[in-house]
Amino acid sequence: MAEYKLLLEHADDPAYRTLAGYQAKGGYQALRKAVGMDRQAVIDEVKKSGLRGRGGAGFPTWIKWNGIEKEKTAPHYILCNADEGEPGTFKDKQIMETVPFLMVEGMTIAGWATQGDHGYVYIRAEFCDAAKAVRQAIDEAYAAGLLGKDILGTGWDFDLDIHLGAGSYECGEESALMSSLMGERGMPRLKFPHAPLPTVAGLWDRPTVINNVETYACAPFIVERGGDWYATLGASTKNSRGTKIFSVSGHLNRPGNYEIEFGTTLGELIDLAGGVKGGALKACVPGGSSVQILRGDGLRDAVIGYEEMWEAGSMVGSGGCMVLNEHTCIVSFIWRTAQFYAMESCGKCTPCREGTKWMLQIMERIVRGNGQPGDMDLLMEITKQIDGRSFCGLGDAAAWPVAAALKVFPEEFEYFIKHGRSMIDTPQARALAPRWAQTVGV
């Protein structure tokens, strides 16, 4: 299957980043339609569309929107998770930079459907260009009466502001993001069933919808063309509808964002990105650093869909597809993955705070050529102690890639530990190693 450009259709057109250009291409038709509809009817369209959250977990979007109290007793908040931090993912960045109005309009539609009062876009502070594009879009929307007081003559007021982070992957976790927006350290909060859902008590303990940038950007198409139409996309899969933007990076001829319909195969996606560079396909991490690595043989036929990917041994995740060629040392790749999670663990709970550091220490001694005989079992044991025992998803996400790599590429770990050097002994592989590791290859 080829690319299916729905969200990114006009990504190359600078005019689309202005309100006039956006409206010339049909922009804000969806909001106009939505405000003429009953609020519940908007949520029903989202239900029909089968839209699932694009931030990583794939949770049905309509359930969140529908979970907001219908008899309003307090202010309602609409929150956009634009803290994209997952290694391998850069789609939200492109959406904000090139099609920012889709996200702004989508958030406004969510606001209408749930009687929202105020929206916030929480953007990671590194994304200055994206934040500027969103700033411009919001300012233009305010000036045209598409945000602010009495939107489109409905008597409904909705404000939208930008809030930037300050460098923390954990702030992408929704409850940590809310802590951060409320002026605290970016640490997560107790979750359902131990605490109410964000739809009941989110930001400032008020009903809050939180979705990813891409999720909101889908909403205008769903409202304008109908949920039934949207659900025809990806109909070949079990339960994944619409398009998904995959950020494809690594050893590729044309790395970049590619929007595809669910049901496309990983092989087709890799071909869209120009195919593998510098050698044969060895492995692929299809959905961002948190998901399980897949072996090259057989992965080309794996179908992209939430359930399908799970059956293939991995996950759609946030869509950060990293492709590795034959000169990649998997042990080195996993060492670097472990470093990321050890670095970004917020330190709140022991399994993750200690476990990620232990995994890194063991990986580090392996890549320094000092691996010990039982290290693989020890690593696997630690992943089990972290997975399911951590306070938030970061701990699980740190354990999965390590556990998967130990299962999928055991020979490389065994070799490295036994010989004190990488099994991948090619000049290309050596060139990638940090200087301190060049004697052992990594």
Partner: protein, 213 residues
């Protein structure tokens, strides 16, 4: 363990309230005022106020910069310091050089030669990751994924993402990286404005609505 992980680094002492002189410019005070309308609870101003302070104090957050945020938001020093030190982009540990070069060595960048690029930068500047050149112009830093992996290996300087448009898999990739680093350093040397001030200013400006300017 990696340069990235520093445990138990000593924190500088907080200034006594009577010793504190407020240093923010009039513009900074106005910006903070404007942002007050964005949130139902003023505690949310802590992150943006720290960004303002980082700009006002020349691109880093000395104890005075933290204390000024505490004073202006009427919160304790301990609370503000606790928040500031959680986030990696507040320069609370030390003042960076005029240009902080942040090299992403995370997964895709690593796979495309980020460690080689880091070596080239270290050689060129004669400092290691985490260090500042003697003339105070450059600080090198290793960072986690900048989420621009299609441009791997990529670096950030202030608000800008930059990349050599070459990977180690390309023909002559390393030579291209070297030539690019030479050009980059020359170019940055000619820029007087500290990049961390530019970054902080961009971040602050993005918060402010057009109608509030």
């Amino acid at each position: 363990m990696s340069e990235l992980i520093q445990i138990g680094a000593a924190r500088p002492k907080a200034p006594q309230p009577q010793d504190l002189t407020l240093r923010w410019s009039e513009r900074a005070v106005e910006e903070l005022e404007a942002l007050k309308g964005h949130y139902p609870d003023l505690k949310s101003l802590i992150l943006p106020a720290l960004w303002i302070s980082q700009r006002e104090y020349g691109g880093h957050l000395p104890p005075e910069g933290i204390a000024e945020v505490a004073a202006r938001l009427q919160r304790t020093y301990a609370e503000i310091e606790g928040v500031a030190t959680f986030y990696s982009m507040y320069n609370t540990a030390h003042a960076p050089g005029r240009h902080m070069i942040e090299v992403c060595t995370c997964l895709s960048c690593h796979m495309c030669g980020a460690y080689r690029l880091a070596d080239i930068l270290e050689e060129k500047l004669g400092v290691k990751m985490g260090e500042t050149t003697e003339d105070g112009v450059f600080t090198l830093h290793e960072v986690e994924c900048l989420d621009a992996c299609d441009r791997a290996p990529v670096i950030q300087v202030g608000p800008d993402y930059l990349d050599p448009q070459a990977t180690l898999q390309d023909e002559g990739g390393e030579a291209k990286m070297r030539a690019w680093v030479d050009r980059l350093i020359d170019d940055l040397r000619s820029r007087p404005e500290p990049s961390s001030v530019r970054l902080a200013d961009t971040v602050v400006q993005v918060h402010v609505r057009a109608t509030e300017r």
